[in-house]
Symmetry: C2
Subunit: 424 residues, 2 copies
């Protein structure tokens, strides 16, 4: 491609600018309800790039009444969503470039080597909350757009850059952008895949199971019924359900090396309050993995049917049924056809830049790609710098080299996908 | 027995006095650190009965350095222990009558029908915290002594009445009385056995197990190691240990109808803190039942040996060993020979008063009888009015009829055991 060398050179020359933009973004702790500062920096950059800015506070009735709106946030005031469009000249395919601006809390400061929002650069890594998840990815998007803009390469298709809030809490920002009418022929989300290509992604829902036993003095524990013992039996059934649910997905080309494609994770258990008493109540909370092509309703029904069977067949649960609750945030699953042109386009760009074939895998976690593909019906690929294992952890960082490589691969993808117009 | 009718008549005539004494005692909430008020009422009664009063604050170095002192109380000031002796004329056997004055907290007032310390009398029941556990039993002891005193029946053996603190927190009050030198040929503790005779009693210790897994994202849970799963395996091993430990005790005459003579109760479990994460740490707390003739050291070693075996043989626990801690209060086990004369004496008195054979059972919980029999080497029988299931619960009450029956049976026991002197 004629433009590849120009883009590569431009990016090399502007590496420092990319680092500085990332540092500025990281220094604004854009935790939930505090996205404004970081978002303002992005808006400024988009204005500089000459994009058409659409900045709005989400939360209208259309959003709130949507059956996939899973958000518990009470107030969106002052922390807007952003979509910035680089209009094409017509004729090419359009592309959404979606990144979230919100970060998860930094946790215990004492466990960080630097201030969690330092943005310090050390050995070609930028450190701080949000570097990997996913301000590094956002900067890669902006660098790609800036390179194309600076090099004055005209596009046929529209480029729709999105800087959304609320991804970490379930994705209301991206859902709002879809409902506002932003569609495209494809979408890329540079979440931290460590430059792997994730065309399918697991969704998830949180559930809570409550089991009631019967209390008794520990010295006559046989007069009670331990809720820990009862829960242990339920968890055993959940393992069996997980095994059944995974049989077909183990055959999928992208899941053959994954021991459990769509796991059911038990993350928390609490039972009892006194060593000498038989524990009366046990509560577990878990994450129910949703298969890429499964609906939320199908997934819910799969667990509920199993619980209902226990409640009808088990002599104890017949009188004291297991309770099930779905709570907290949800992430829709998503998938694109493995033969889809967007996957091939990104894979080609990857090969051009990296010199090797990309690794194509299934995503073990949900992203806003669930909304884009399921609700927006937009083929969506998750591909970005940064590593999953660093996200949400202390001493989060991103490798600058990976961020720059992602920017180049995305820039080439844009040229290929949106097509370069004749420069008249 | 010539005196039986006199005692029975005296008790019938003084039923109201017994109720009033119980009400006064219940109206003093003698929770830990607040035993003074109720103890003062007992002291006054003992003076009235002409007993030799020994009232002292426990907590000296002899007590604190005793290897069976398991108390976490920092201050005993103002809340004394009481021993009150009715000296015999010589020649008979001595008897300790031991009751504790402390009560457990009343919990949520809203769950009580009356004020928890009302002492209200309704349908021949007195209500309030401590009625069953064990102020009703204490009143039965005092009524028995008062009947004998009022009827001017001279005894050969000494009668040693004890009103101790700290039973609910492990028994430091009774241990202090033993170390102060109070011994006897037998002891009776009127804890709530519902008039059954408990010649052997289970002891108990609290333990905590900590298991470490490996955290991971729930979407790739196979990369972690769930501490809930690991703990489930440990709990399975504990069930096997419990089964082994109980084989021999199931043969014991008093345990043949008890499914688990010395249970290991898991009362509490906590693991994990996030639905979408593999839980890294699991903690259980439980009550380890100690066989009537087992030492605390033997019991500890039994669990520790099993844990040690897992830590050496299990591939996971070899690198992250299960931790075990013993914490909180402990109750020594206790037992008396089933052929012992004291058991026969109380059984005879029971039959004389109730007209039927008593039920003789093993106690599923510990009492201060553990200290009396194990440290004091005093054959101790637990026998009293009130019901276990009401103890520590809301709306605790005692049936006045049972309290009066216990008083009569104990009075006859005293006459038989200590022997009546010739009234010269």
């Amino acid at each position: 491609m004629a433009y590849q060398q120009q883009i590569s050179t431009w990016l090399q020359e502007h590496r420092k600018n990319g680092i500085q933009l990332l540092q500025k973004l990281v220094q604004e702790p854009s935790k939930r309800y505090q996205e404004e500062g970081a978002q303002a920096i992005v808006v400024e950059k988009c204005r500089e790039l000459g994009l058409a800015i659409d900045l709005w506070e989400i939360g209208d009735e259309t959003l709130r009444s949507h059956h996939h709106f899973y958000c518990d946030r009470h107030n969106f005031q002052g922390n807007p969503n952003l979509v910035a469009v680089k209009k094409g000249r017509g004729g090419g395919k359009s592309l959404i470039l979606n990144g979230h601006i919100d970060v998860v809390p930094e946790g215990d400061h004492a466990r960080w080597d630097d201030d969690p929002y330092s943005g310090v650069l050390r050995e070609n890594k930028v450190y701080g909350r949000g570097t990997t998840d996913m301000k590094g990815g956002n900067v890669a998007l902006l660098l790609a757009i800036e390179a194309i803009t600076a090099l004055d390469i005209p596009l046929k298709g529209d480029l729709i850059f999105q800087s959304v809030i609320e991804e970490e809490s379930g994705g209301a920002g991206t859902l709002a952008a879809i409902l506002r009418g932003y569609k495209a022929d494809g979408a890329i989300i540079p979440e931290p895949t460590n430059l792997k290509l994730f065309p399918v992604q697991q969704g998830s829902m949180w559930f809570r199971l409550i089991v009631k036993g019967k209390s008794a003095h520990g010295g006559t524990r046989y007069e009670g019924e331990s809720s820990i013992d009862l829960m242990t039996n339920v968890l055993h059934e959940i393992k069996k359900l997980e095994n059944e649910r995974n049989q077909q997905w183990k055959q999928h080309p992208l899941y053959q090396k994954i021991p459990i494609p769509i796991p059911i994770n038990i993350g928390k258990m609490e039972s009892g309050n006194w060593p000498s008493s038989v524990p009366e109540t046990a509560i577990v909370e878990g994450r129910f993995g949703i298969a890429p092509t499964e609906t939320m309703e199908e997934a819910k029904s799969s667990l509920e049917t199993m619980i209902e069977r226990l409640n009808q067949t088990d002599s104890w649960f017949r009188t004291k049924p297991i309770e099930i609750e779905w709570f907290g945030a949800r992430w829709l699953p998503g998938s694109m056809d493995l033969e889809h042109a967007l996957l091939k386009t990104v894979a080609d760009a990857f090969k051009n830049v990296q010199g090797v074939e990309p690794i194509i895998e299934a995503s073990p976690w949900g992203t806003d790609g669930g909304y884009l593909s399921t609700v927006g019906n937009i083929p969506t690929l998750v591909f970005g710098p940064g590593e999953t294992k660093l996200a949400h952890d202390t001493n989060e960082y991103i490798e600058v080299d990976k961020m720059m490589a992602a920017a180049e691969i995305i820039a080439l993808t844009i040229l290929d996908w949106c097509e370069v117009a004749e420069n008249v």
